[in-house]
Amino acid sequence: MPKLLPPESHPTLMISMREISKTFPGVVANDRIDLDIYRAEIHALLGENGAGKSTLMKILYGFYRADSGRIFLDGQSLSIQSPHDARLAQIGMVFQDFTLIPAFSVAENIALFLPDLGAVLDIKDVNLRIEQLSARYNLKVNPHAMVSELSIGEQQKVEILKLLLSDARLLILDEPTRVLAPHEVDALFQVLDGLRKDGLAIILITHKINEVMECSDRITVLRRGRVVGTVPQPDASESMLVEMMFEKKLSDVEVSRSVIRKGALQPLLKLHGVYTRSEGLGVNLVDIDLEVCPGEIVGVAGVSGNGQKELGDVVLGMIKCLKGTKNLFGKGVTHHSIQRMRKSGISYIPENPLTMAAAPFMTVLENMAVTKTWRYARQGGLRMDWQAVMTDIENTMKRMGFSLPWYVPARSLSGGNLQRMIIVRELTHDPRLIIASYLTRGLDVQSTIAAHSALIQARENGAGVLLISESLEELFKLSDRLIVLYAGRIVGRFRPKETDSYEIGHLMTGTKVQHDTKS
């Protein structure tokens, strides 16, 4: 084995990873990776789902240990055997799958990661620091709230605050923008820009190439566990990065708009005057009227935490309708159980697949069958027909161009592969109504295209889709109709042609006044 040389010394070089390799049973996640991070830079890490980005970063943070390879800090060899070591070296990380504890308050979660936490907790002081920092960086959260009551976007903000308070010099952010609203992404980039000016180093993982072009200084692309190359931002272009990631050019989906058969058929889903009440800090839905007809995609725009989660939950029956009625396929289903709803041909992709749709310790195969056990149970439930599960799922996977291992526990999948698993499961068996929240969250460009075309395919086959998303681009591209949710109410209904992202953006943030003066 060739001897590893320490990296060339350079005044602003901070961290060097050399020849890092990591193998999991059956996969080489990292294959002799070299990576240099300089002070005062934002370094973007790109790569398709499963390329090994998260694994590499978890090694740098000490969460995993590399099979071989070394890490240097300021030219000195540094042994990182645990997150404890990494934190001593002032490395901090926001994980892709959150590490927040739902049963703790926001303040307790943040306190857990404070490097200078006193032996006796001073929660008041922690609250104060959170409030100051969140005001300064425009990342609003309530420190007293239980994390279990937060929307996924708010959870992401807590994670970022946690990192900012942890006194790190190297900040690793694994897909932080995945769940943020556009204006929050802008705020985050401003924060990162400020930190860069203070001389901190930032590693940013994202699948959104426009974000990479917008904020990074250098870009490293990984493919199947290897480094394809590192380019300075000015030398890079979107198409070049996509080619590096996938070894080929990608063409976007064609969206046809011909199949709206509204009026002729009765709606698949009809909510009339629906009210809900949620526990704690959740949002209450107020007077929701909504129809989804066969062959149409209804987009739901809104900043996360304005009732999107509740909307999906109330349709599926996870929270009760306090008032109003719910009709599915022409029948009144206001008080039906979740299982009855699922059996009737409704699919649900929730906003947080790891906690809301997957059993992390069960295998991919078991997870694939878990929402449809009645379909595969044989001999009155004594036996499961796994072969049939595989056949059905494989069909869908082939159609979408995904592939997943069958026998690994769901929690060991990469973030994007987990999302793929849920999408595949929910789109199998030709659902008649699909409720998709943040469909493409965590997916790479290629998988995003595949997921979009699968939705359009489903629509063309006569399914109705309720597409909840924060990406206006996605909503404008796919929707036949758009509604805007704000504070639990529907505050706008449009056809995409009749509006623009400016108008929707204002409705989403509740700043309707401005919009009125404009028009």
């Binding site: 943070y61 590490t99 990661f113 936490l117």
Partner: protein
């Protein structure tokens, strides 16, 4: 029913509730870190017998209490080795620990069955001394009784108001998160078991050295299991455990009183009163997501690759 008998019920509820509460507090700490200790019965027995033996030999009850405490912690360390280091199943290991404790305590206490000791001295409540002896003797409490409620408050404070408690609860909720925060989940679980063991040892010491002041085989008579139930009853909160332990032992004392009063109900049915009461209270309290079990209770921490 006379005033005297009612006071008697109260007094015996306090005496038997004390060891139950210490034990429950110990188990709360174990479980908050994610470990179910089903071996409590065995831990208590070994603590009670060794503390009793030392008191009988040295005639120093304080030394006996100290030995009890340490024995409790040591027994819990055995469980720790199995479930933390060897990653064994917690339920099976707990039961094994219990049977081990049965045997070991019988061996330790074999020559002290029926021995007489000077137990922990009783200190009467000031102001009660001018009551008739019959009454005031009911409220002659030992030091461990006076300390049990402060101990519960202390455990509550440790769990919810210190850095150590925060880390410990984090391990019980999600050991990966605790690890990511720079903590060592394995070490924290050992610490939790150690401190929990100390408290169980105190409970056992109170039983053999202060309350009954004798040793008989299997003298704990299910207290360890009741403590496990009380942990659930108290929703892993040390302050609620105070109520739980008092309520339960009050009910036990009350049904004993009923039995001795010659009431025409089968004693087997009367025996069930405390349990029925417990169930009724649990139903009335209901379950809220805020007070549910630690999320990774009973789960082995595998570490990361």
């Amino acid at each position: 029913m006379t005033l005297l008998s009612v006071l008697g019920v109260l007094s015996s509820a306090i005496f038997s509730g004390t060891s139950l509460l210490y034990t429950t507090l110990g188990e709360i700490i174990d479980q908050r870190s994610g470990i179910v200790n089903l071996g409590l019965e065995g831990v208590m027995l070994v603590s009670a017998s060794s503390g009793f033996a030392v008191t009988a030999i040295t005639d120093n009850p304080y030394l006996g209490v100290l030995v009890s405490i340490l024995a409790g912690a040591l027994m819990n360390m055995i469980l720790g080795f199995l479930v933390i280091s060897r990653r064994a199943n917690q339920l099976a290991s707990g039961l094994a620990l219990m049977f081990f404790g049965f045997g070991l305590s019988a061996w330790i206490g074999r020559s002290y069955v029926g021995a007489k000791i000077n137990g922990l001295p009783r200190i009467s409540l000031p102001g009660l001394s001018n009551l008739p002896v019959l009454y005031s003797s009911l409220f002659n409490f030992d030091l461990l009784i006076y300390l049990v409620i402060p101990a519960a408050i202390l455990v509550w404070w440790l769990l919810f108001h210190t850095r150590w408690g925060l880390g410990l609860r984090a391990v019980g909720e999600n050991a990966d998160t605790a690890y990511a925060s720079g903590r060592n989940p394995l070490r924290i679980r050992y610490q939790a078991l150690f401190v929990g063991g100390l408290l169980v040892g105190l409970g056992a010491a109170h039983l053999s050295i202060a309350y009954t002041m004798n040793w008989t085989e299997y003298m704990t008579a299910g207290r360890g299991f009741i403590a496990v139930a009380l942990v659930i009853f108290s929703k892993w909160n040390p302050l609620r455990a105070i109520v739980g332990a008092l309520l339960f032992s009050g009910a036990v004392a009350f049904q004993l009183l009923l039995q001795s009063s010659g009431i025409q109900i089968s004693p087997f049915l009367l025996d069930t009163i405390p349990y029925i009461l417990t169930i009724l209270v649990l139903i009335a309290w209901g379950g809220t997501p805020k007070h549910s079990a630690p999320a990774s209770l009973g789960r082995v921490y595998q570490g990361t690759e």
